[in-house]
Symmetry: C2
Subunit: 200 residues, 2 copies
Amino acid sequence: MQTSPAPETSSRQTAREELKSIALRQFASVGFAGTSLQQIADAAGYSKSSVLYHFASKEALLEATLTPAMDTLGEILDRFVSRAPSRSAQDAFVAEFIDFLLVNRLQVHMFVNQGQSLQGMAVIGRANGLIESLASSLCGEMRTAEERVRFSVALGGAAYMLSASEMWSTAPLSDDETRAALVTVVSELLAPMQLRPMAS
Amino acid sequence: MQTSPAPETSSRQTAREELKSIALRQFASVGFAGTSLQQIADAAGYSKSSVLYHFASKEALLEATLTPAMDTLGEILDRFVSRAPSRSAQDAFVAEFIDFLLVNRLQVHMFVNQGQSLQGMAVIGRANGLIESLASSLCGEMRTAEERVRFSVALGGAAYMLSASEMWSTAPLSDDETRAALVTVVSELLAPMQLRPMAS
DNA sequence: GCCTACACTGACCGATCGGTCAGTAACCTG
DNA sequence: CAGGTTACTGACCGATCGGTCAGTGTAGGC
């Protein structure tokens, strides 16, 4: 909806993106309820009014913050579901999924350990649906207790590991080290689960 | 500190304990920052002033809420460290630790995914120390990246599984099912780690 | 009966919360 | 130079926050 040539970058998108990224960091570290619009505005060098100019409300800001990651996750899932069920397909999926976790660790952290208190929000409902269909893809109806535990330990454990590693007293792991170790551990966790991918 | 016969139960301890348990539930589900003293008071049927009569501040209430679990964890750790390092000792410890997680799941949930935002608090510092010494007991200095990942996935995954299972759309698992599955999965996760318990 | 200690409460405090609104300076279009 | 849009802001709103304080009722010890 605009005819201007190109250099709209300065203000057209950057402020919004900057606010989203700062808000995400704050939400993930202090919690959604524990973060005020004023804090976000201060950290970004804007006024609180500016934040509410770009986003209709605090909740809308959170939605905008989490939605792109959910889009990505949806694509990854679609790709997995459309493949034939095999060990190699599952391995490829695990690698893809762990890359997703690495890139979107803060968003996943938000979902994993604030999802409970944000249940009313649309993006959280969507995330729950995606995770549920992921679970179904990996093992039909999540039959045994052990399968459920394997799945949620892998998901919650990876999410925790990625967001809490900064709290370790030792030096943080590089992304490459983390990815390799996570692929090993998560594959091991999911290996005993029977493969039965299914659409919808 | 009291000479009265016996029935001091009605008011001497119950109000405090009741407030602690209600506060813990709220803190765990909505977050410490997201829970107001008014909400806790309402849920308990007291006034906000009463909450502040029993606990000097909101932070003091959180400390009182988490401290008993930390005491228990300290005892479990001491017991493990004082045993000779062996596979059977580790298995016994894992079982003991998972019982601890089951009983204190909300407190562990608080530590695991709000520890970051509560770093200033004494009880959180203590919990971090305990976890660190637990990690040291299991594998010296946490040498390899994979060992670190195994440890934190087991801890964070178990904590997530226990607190998020209520969000599953299916019926929740019984404690016995959960314990058995967790023991299997966590033992499997920690098995490749070399045992080198050490004091302090 | 008197007195203290205890459990508890309502009124109130300054600060901050999310959110609204009336601007304003800069810029593009005609 | 008008006119409109865009990005942004300060002043302000009612509500709520954590916390203080001056009580009030009551039970037990003397």
